[in-house]
Symmetry: C2
């Protein structure tokens, strides 16, 4: 991460921005959480801050990833906290190239007084999403916190997979093309609209879905070609590209008109003063692809229901390593990451 | 778990007792969390409610376990939430026979405003305990919740290990002897005293420690002999024995005077009206051992610093399968599990 350096020292008190997926969070991880921990000889450890860890296991690799989930509201158009938990973990495994999740764990922290009926709904969603992703929850943990000690429910899902080949988020080289597998901004704006009970004219719907099948299709392309992957979750496309560019030490040039954005997301983004490019996605992938393979990868993605709108959105360059430049069609500007929590303008 | 049956239907609202490690928690897991999930063909899945899952991996086994940690206070005599998180997960792996933890994950949910300095202390403790257990944290996750949405900090640790032999909590047969590796009740009473700022005459100190080295010593005894293990955490020795007896379909007879209890714990227990046998331990193991191996296993345990006070405390019978009978030296009674959260009498 030294190439992303110039991270500021962590403040004396942890504020919301430290959980927002951007530079502040990376500073917290680098300066405290990863300090003296997580070295994996011959693999990918904690300091890499990739979507998961990779541990050598004979001639294969064990991939491990973990995520906590505290989304509000717990139910939103397109999904709920249960679907989010399973898809999020399956997708982090897939981002490392491990598209066959061996097993998940699920640990629940429940607030005293939480309704049993809602737990049942959430677990129905967990079950259904596991079936969709071809995996299951093999072990868990249950804690109950006192009334007022936790706002409702926190879930942790951890996933493990064995793979014969892994993919990192730092494998880009100048000339590689960048693909996004569909429209961006859907999840974050749908949750925000639900959280603030915004009355919008258009329906926003989270894209939350396990993408391991989609990634499997891309990785199956003859001769490979996929050299880097990341899912644009917290911090959105902007943070994903910034991390990939920084770690790969390449410049990234994004052609903004090529980035798929739905009409509803575009309109909501304009109304709320929020750029869809910094908003979380939960069913999308950014892939770095060698130029010779791009047509085949794009065809493979588009043949999958979750990749129908896949598009090439940019190219890697040897200029300004670590920088993401946005060509708007009218001019060029640096695409910056969001500093902290996104707040709709009308608030 | 059907042999532990007669669990009551889960209440409409989740109360504290559902996190206490006893019958209420098992009902919640069986009726909601494990419903339709966690089947592991040829291994140990979610419905087994063992200390972890076991998944076949060629001629070996992958063991997976997860735990969330919300202890209050976060720092107590003998340890803190960081040590507890690492030891808890390492110990759950060890209970399945996997004494070489391959890697841990650690996910933190932090309340807005949490002091950086305390995070640094906790991570120093995580690092030190990882070194002690011979493992490290290879990947993580960071979320920040708003002020008042979480009381401080919640950690999740998940552990993975590969083992060539696993041990379950249900392997007891009539005639097997039960060993506990040292004094019981230390952790729970130390935390309770710290939480309620009780002024006691004697020093209570948590036993929190990774016991994988201790378990390794026991499992290395020639010819095996260890047929079941469980760590008496939430619910204490009483819950551990009840689960082992129920799942193994044997009766258990415990000779109470043989159970190691420190003078401080005994005195505190009497003062507070809390039986040390229902109080959590975080550095102890209950082992079921074939009679022929008991001397060798006991010697191996006692040769380890964490097992110096190991003792045979009981025997398995073919009477009253699932019941734990306590022989007090004056008479016999059923040892019942605590129903819910333990509350000191003076409160």
């Amino acid at each position: 991460m030294s190439d992303l350096a110039r991270l500021r020292p962590v403040d004396d008190r942890i504020s919301l921005k430290y959980g927002a997926g951007g530079r502040a969070m990376r500073a917290l991880i680098e300066q405290i959480f990863a300090d003296g921990l997580g070295d994996v000889p011959g693999g990918v450890g904690l300091a890499a801050m990739d979507d998961g860890a990779v541990i050598p296991l004979g001639d294969r690799w064990l991939v491990l990833t973990t995520d906590s989930h505290v989304v509000k509201p717990r139910r939103f158009p397109g999904g709920d906290i249960g679907r989010l938990a399973v898809a999020g973990t399956v997708n982090d495994l897939a981002m490392m190239g491990a598209t066959e999740p061996l097993a998940l764990t699920c640990a629940a922290i429940v607030e005293e007084g939480f309704p049993r009926a809602e737990l049942e709904q959430i677990w129905a969603s967990i079950r259904a999403t596991c079936v969709e992703a071809g995996t299951t929850v093999v072990t868990g943990d249950t804690k109950v916190m006192g009334k007022g000690e936790l706002d409702g429910l926190a879930l942790n899902t951890t996933g493990v997979a064995i793979t014969s080949r892994y993919v990192r988020d730092c494998g880009l080289a100048p000339g590689d093309l960048l693909i996004v597998t569909g429209t961006v901004g859907d999840h974050g704006l749908a949750v925000m609209a639900a959280r603030h009970a915004l009355a919008l004219e258009f329906e926003l719907r989270s894209d939350v879905a396990p993408v391991n099948g989609l990634v499997r299709a891309a990785l199956a392309v003859d001769g490979g070609g996929v050299v880097a992957m990341k899912d644009p979750t917290r911090g959105g496309l902007a943070s994903a590209l910034a991390e990939m560019a920084g770690k790969s030490r390449v410049g990234v040039e994004v052609h903004e008109p090529a980035v798929p954005v739905s009409d509803a997301v575009r309109a909501a983004g304009e109304l709320l003063g929020i750029d869809p490019l910094v908003v979380a996605n939960e069913g999308k992938v950014v892939l770095g692809v060698r130029p010779a393979a791009v047509d085949a990868v794009l065809a493979a993605l588009r043949a999958h229901p979750l990749g129908a709108a896949a598009a090439v959105i940019g190219v890697c360059t040897d200029e300004r390593p670590g920088a993401v430049v946005l060509d708007t069609g009218f001019g060029r500007r640096l695409l910056s990451e969001a500093e902290g929590e996104l707040q709709p303008r009308i608030y």
